[in-house]
Amino acid sequence: MRYLHSRNRAILSEMVRTDFKVRYQGSVLGYLWAILKPLFIFAVLYILFVYIAPIGKDIPHFGISLLLGIVLWNFFSETTMIGATSIVAHGDLIRKISIPRYLVVVASSVSAMINLSLSMVVVIIFAFLNGVYPSVSWLLIPIVIFEFYIFSLGLAFGLSALYVKFRDITYIWEVFLQAGFYASMVLIPMQAVPEKYRDWFFINPVVQILQDARALLIPTADNITIWNTVESLTIRLAPFILITLICVFGFYYFKSRSKYFAEEV
């Protein structure tokens, strides 16, 4: 058992290493792109929302809130999108060696997690520059990120197993992500949503996660989270029930299909 454990860890770390080395090969700035990409998106959107269509002008530290949203959303779309294609992309391995199949999906998510950690450093630097100072609430941010990670991983497992059989999945998921970007309030501040509709938005786990992460990073009074907005217990629990359902289904489906990957991939 111990042997198995160290063996799987070795495979995981080599796969992540490979992924990182290969991804930024031939680019002059290399790993820096992991940080630069969300920064550029942020710059464009910041100009848009502060100067051109000033929705976020009156919200304190709107820029930081926006940047955090983009960074977290990037992590979500990377984990699910690259995760979805991971089994097929590593078909060569799957067909020839009996490594545990889940390692392939987990490896792709670890890469995304490393990117997120790098980006979070940038978020914190910007927070300082913007006058947001460390508070005790920051200690809870990893818990929210962990929740997000589990959710993304559950989706990645389900999608990757589906993608082996149906290659349409990535196109469908792309559309989902495109819509989700707007529905998850990455750009638009929650303040812009009329109060009576806010409950419905919080059913979406990503909204709950993003709003919690923002509130923990910038602990000002006017944060809108599921906890200070939604009164119905059912809706308060909804995102967590959804995450649990998606993960259980995703892991279970992956596990039941994984023994046929070698033949079908």
Binding site: S13, K96, S98, K165, F166
Partner: protein
């Protein structure tokens, strides 16, 4: 018989592959198929295969292409799951379904050593300890920091094999690894395999080479259409395999004769398969309109080696066909015929390579090998 410990016990394995008419890899197809009850065909790849491999055995698996060898190996390696039956494993197993699994062309040779090592079950620490030996064996020290895509295929194979032989596990399984690489490399492989045999390492080897089976393996089995048709003694299995190779592949045969029909020269033998030493009658014909003064025919091996050839020389021939009697002092295997005709001025009218094919069979005799059967004798003596 002494009590021997079993390393792998395969019991009544069945494996089917479902072959849909149209592989439904899109949702639309899937929906259409549900409605239409897609007429899938299942192909029985393995049909009730049972055997045991004992510890310390060098076990060979032979069979023609498509007989289910690779599927069997993948089932043992745990890549596939059997439809029914069981495989019990007594000890750890390292599979080499292919050398260099996971090799990434964009990474350096060095990185690939660690990646491949991890997939074969080694931690980074263990790989670091073995790294120098691996590089030394592969003889590519100066290239280790180059990307793999800049390696020659020979270098890649050497590197992969050098990692593979470092693997120490209770059971090793190899699929056709001896078929790759140049002659020098194959010699190296053979040396390693002999070492395995000497050290009583449990090995399962899939191969097409009867020479490897008879010299390396202690026991073997032969698969045909997913069933075991011969098992046990390596000579018995090797003989069964050679017999199964006799009838030429009917599809290539048809293709050959079809090709020949469209050609100016037609050629036919009295048989498709000949016993070693038998006389083959070849008849070659061409249209009467051609002024043919010279005709030649040649025999070549499947790898293109020129085995034998003859022509009519300076004597001007007449007529529109020629027949030869050739004594086939050839080793067992498949051969090709090549035919050519020239006109009065010694200009080539037409020539066809591989215009027809035939095969030679013999009773299996492990003492003799090679393309030709030469007269020989030997004597032993003791030099003082």
């Amino acid at each position: 018989m002494s009590e021997r410990e079993i390393a792998i016990s395969v019991k009544d394995i069945h494996k089917n592959f479902i072959l849909p008419q149209h592989k439904n890899t899109s949702l639309k197809q899937a929906a259409v198929n549900i409605v239409r009850k897609n007429n899938v065909t299942t192909q029985k790849v393995l049909d009730g295969v049972s055997f045991d491999v004992y510890k310390g055995e060098f076990f060979g698996i032979v069979g023609r292409n498509g007989s289910g060898k690779s599927t069997l190996l993948k089932l043992i390696a745990g890549v596939y799951t059997p439809a029914s039956g069981s495989i019990e494993m007594n000890g750890g197993l390292t599979p080499f379904i292919e050398l260099g699994v996971g090799f990434n062309q964009e990474l350096s040779g060095r990185d690939n050593v660690f990646l491949n090592g991890a997939l074969l079950g080694y931690t980074r620490k263990q790989m670091e300890a073995m790294y120098d030996e691996i590089v030394e064996f592969a003889e590519i020290e100066e290239h280790m920091d180059k990307k793999l895509k800049n390696y020659s295929s020979g270098m890649q194979v050497r590197l992969a094999f050098s990692i593979a032989i470092k693997a120490k596990n209770d059971i090793l399984i190899f699929d056709e690894v001896l078929a790759v690489g140049d002659e020098a490399f194959q010699k190296k492989c053979m040396a390693v395999f002999r070492e395995y045999r000497k050290n009583k390492q449990t090995v399962i080897l899939v191969t097409h080479s009867m020479e490897n089976v008879t010299t390396l393996c202690s026991r073997a089995l032969m698969l045909e259409d997913g069933k075991i048709v011969a098992t046990g003694d390596v000579r018995k299995v090797a003989a069964a395999y050679q017999k199964s190779n006799l009838p030429l592949d009917s599809t290539t045969d048809e293709k050959m004769s079809k090709n020949a029909k469209q050609k100016m020269i037609n050629i036919s033998g009295n048989n498709k398969a000949y016993k070693m030493g038998e006389t083959m009658k070849i008849t070659m014909g061409w249209p009467s309109s051609e002024k043919v003064a010279w005709a030649g025919v040649a025999i070549s091996g499947v790898n293109g080696e020129y085995v034998f050839g003859t022509n009519t020389g300076v004597v001007k021939i007449k007529g529109n066909s020629i027949s030869y009697d050739v004594d086939l002092n050839l080793g067992p295997g498949d051969y090709y015929l090549t035919a050519a005709i020239k006109d009065l001025d010694d200009n080539l009218i037409e020539s066809y390579e591989k215009i027809a094919t035939f095969s030679v069979y013999s009773d299996y005799d492990p003492r003799i090998g090679g393309l030709t059967r030469m007269k020989y004798k030997y004597a032993t003596s003791e030099k003082s």
